[in-house]
């Protein structure tokens, strides 16, 4: 799609549309779609549960029968790098050794492809995955509503899971009292990272309050150093900061209600939260190119020492290890300011794996997930820079100190704030667009949020 050549580009728009149509047709559930089948589950109420599947049923195969007949389970996820992908291959080998007769097929796609169209295509295909990676919140809820999430409440009560995962790790993974996801990895989505050498050179200290933060920006600017760099071309980096500012200003419930469309997005409280973004823009805290720069380029610039700080998530550690291993990094959470939100809240997101409700091997899929959260696998994931959601993921692991403390920050946070795009993708797009307009100095908070609210009102009601 990105590599259209001249002749392709010069095709008529009719052909372009038809190409899109072909994509739609490929995604069409007609015929092969589980949801198109009269016998297929149509909602959470009709999902086969793991407990129920212990006995032979229409939707599952009894373990004993499955053991006699060789079969394959498919595991799908978006790639987060060769190292992590390799651990899944190790898991496959271990699983196949532990369960003779069972084969694991790993389906790994490019991360963005998986998130946008890949997973949907896989789920509606004839060879749908039995287990798939997903984000909790709206995306998970949609999958469950569409009939692609198995109720694994009974399965996760098993010691294989209960001894490895804190109940709090299931936040966003329980819908109507039923568990649909096994937690895998977590990330702090936004903190402000700083270059320790630069801070030391100028005798700067990490700020704790908003006023100190603005003063630090001014000092950095006066020293000729870009205070904060961010690459907001895709809108989520500043959108994440806006999410956190909104929670701190108006509280988690009000923030989430606004993103879910239960409250207006242009409330005075939200305008006040966006006022903080405007303050950053007006005080020259951000790089001028904030809305033109991709996030990875911003990361590189920061690691090259071209700014004092960057607002980004815990995954910066892995970039630092590969791009600037000698750079000393520190971080601080969103500085505090008066508001009704929790001053120690942390913006973070967890991810996990879902068992496809249409899988013929639900129990085998659960067995795979049990190995995914087992100590051996957790250790391997932690070694590769992930933050597994399991208990004590870093025990006996030589992990980056920042990764370890960030994991603690997330696990001990009094309030975990969910980024807007994990709450409602469409409304988050408008929310993030408004944040981009404010940070770019293109609109005032009121103008940006009024425009966002107007577009939200045009969206179809859920």
């Amino acid at each position: 799609m990105h590599e259209a050549r001249p002749l392709a580009r010069r095709m008529t728009a009719v052909v372009a549309t038809v190409t899109l149509a072909a994509a739609f047709a490929a995604c069409s559930p007609a015929g092969s779609s589980p949801s198109a089948s009269a016998a297929a589950p149509t909602g959470a109420a009709s999902q086969p549960s793991v407990a129920a599947s212990a006995a032979p049923s229409a939707g599952t195969v009894a373990p004993s029968a499955a053991a006699e007949e060789p079969f394959t389970i498919r595991v799908a996820f978006g790639s987060t790098g060769d190292a992590v992908d390799g651990i899944f291959t190790e898991l496959k080998t271990a699983y196949e050794a532990k369960y003779p007769g069972r084969t694991v097929e790993i389906i790994v796609q490019e991360d963005d492809t998986y998130e946008t169209i890949g997973l949907n295509n896989l789920l509606t295909s004839r060879n749908a995955p039995d287990v798939y990676f997903e984000w909790p919140g709206t995306r998970l809820k949609t999958k469950v509503t569409d009939g692609y999430g198995a109720d694994i409440s009974a399965a996760v009560a098993d010691p294989r899971f209960a001894s490895r995962l804190d109940p709090a790790a299931y936040t966003g993974m329980v819908i109507d009292g039923k568990t649909y996801m096994v937690p895998w990895s977590g990330d702090v989505t936004n903190v402000f990272w700083y270059n320790k050498a630069l801070f030391s050179e100028h005798s700067w200290t990490p700020p704790t309050t908003w006023d100190e933060f603005i003063a630090l920006c001014a000092a950095s600017k006066a020293a000729g150093i870009t205070p904060i760099i961010d690459g907001n071309k895709d809108k989520w980096p500043i959108g994440s900061i806006a999410s956190h500012l909104a929670e701190r200003t108006m509280g988690a419930d009000a923030y989430m209600a606004a993103i879910r469309g239960e409250q207006p997005m242009n409330s005075p409280e939200m305008v006040a939260a966006f006022g903080k973004l405007q303050e950053l823009a007006q005080n020259g805290c951000m790089n001028k190119s904030v809305n033109a720069l991709p996030d990875d380029q911003a990361t590189t610039q920061f690691l090259l020492g071209k700014s004092a700080m960057i607002g980004i998530g815990s995954w910066l550690v892995s970039d630092q290890v590969t791009q600037a291993p000698n750079l000393q990094l520190g971080y601080f959470n969103m500085p505090t300011f008066p508001g009704t939100g929790d001053p120690n809240s942390v913006l973070g997101v967890s991810t996990g794996f879902v068992v496809n409700a249409h899988s013929e091997h639900v129990d085998a899929a659960v067995d795979f997930l049990a190995m995914l959260v087992a100590p051996e696998a957790s250790k391997r994931f932690a070694q590769e820079g992930l933050t597994p959601m399991t208990l004590d993921p870093f025990a006996g692991v030589q992990a980056d100190p920042n990764t370890v403390t960030l994991a603690t920050l997330l696990s001990t946070a009094p309030v975990k704030v969910t980024p807007a795009d994990n709450l409602d993708v469409q409304r988050a797009a408008e929310f993030y667009g408004a944040a981009a307009a404010v940070i770019g100095g293109l609109k005032t908070p009121q103008e940006a949020l009024d425009a966002a609210q107007k577009r939200v009102e045009q969206m179809p009601k859920p």
Partner: protein, 283 residues
């Protein structure tokens, strides 16, 4: 009988998907749920969607810019490289090289050129003492669209140069010689003989440029992703984000159908203009 395979193939790869898209445009579908009929809701929403309307405006600005930067410049380049000289072959190759590069590579390359920090353009402006002209070219709504248009022109001017150059080679020499004998200058030859004789080719080039502009995507997606604040949002980037980011397949299908109708309408109007425009100059 002989056209049977072609008709079957066309039906399979064009007709059926198009029908599927038309069907989906009347439905609400996330890609995984059961499509739900919503009547004309998607179309009504599209007509009231400011971003979608803005995407048309941006697309038409892009078309206008590319007609100049691609077709007109391509024509001018063809005229220049047609002049007999020692290095014109090299010039032809040089101008055509961007056409052969992958668009993503070009987009990334130009993103660096436009960078406000160390980018070649801002560095050059700084070097000549014109810091006042330095800009965040892709981050400012007032310059972002034009900046992308310039890149498009840089790439495809060479493509149209190749088309026009081929046409210029077919201009009968006896016409040119007769004109020279009558005292015509090289400018006269170009504007009074060559340009009129290339009218048919120009019309094809304009059609390619207009329809190509409607279907362009990669350059915008990589360079700006529709931003800042939808300043470079074109129809295709908006449809793609609607379908693949928001998973509103039905709405995306409706917007695609509207775009198809617009393009078909432009094509029909263009054909009608051609019919009413008199007889093509043949040579």
């Amino acid at each position: 009988m002989l056209v049977g395979p072609a008709v079957a193939f066309f039906t399979f790869v064009v007709g059926l998907p198009l029908l599927g898209t038309i069907g989906l445009s009347f439905a609400s579908w996330t890609g995984t749920n059961r499509p739900k009929l919503v009547g004309l809701d998607n179309f009504v929403r599209a007509f009231g969607d400011e971003v979608y309307r803005g995407a048309y405006l941006n697309t038409f600005i892009y078309i206008a810019a590319t007609l100049v930067l691609e077709v007109a410049v391509g024509f001018a380049l063809a005229g220049l490289v047609s002049v007999k000289g020692k290095r014109t072959g090299w010039y032809r190759i040089t101008f055509f090289i961007p056409v052969m590069l992958p668009m993503v590579v070009i987009a990334v390359l130009w993103s660096f050129l436009y960078s406000d920090d160390g980018g070649l353009i801002n560095s050059f402006l700084g070097a000549i003492g014109r810091e006042d002209l330095q800009h965040v070219w892709l981050g400012d709504p007032s310059t972002a669209l034009l900046a992308v248009c310039v890149v498009s022109g840089w790439v495809y001017a060479g493509f149209y140069m190749a088309i026009f150059y081929a046409g210029l080679q077919r201009v009968p020499q006896h016409l040119l010689e007769a004109a020279r004998l009558d005292g015509a200058s090289e400018w006269d030859l170009f504007f009074r003989i060559k340009v009129p004789l290339l009218r048919g080719l120009t019309e094809v080039a304009v059609l390619l440029c207009v329809t190509g502009a409607f279907s362009t995507f990669d350059l915008f997606y990589v360079m700006t992703n529709g931003g800042p604040d939808h300043a470079t949002e074109i129809i295709t980037t908006y449809v793609v984000s609607t379908v693949f980011r928001d998973h509103e397949v039905g709405y995306g299908a409706a917007m695609s159908i509207i775009m198809t109708l617009v393009v078909v309408g432009i094509g029909l109007a263009y054909a009608r203009l051609r019919r009413g425009g008199g007889v093509d100059l043949e040579y």
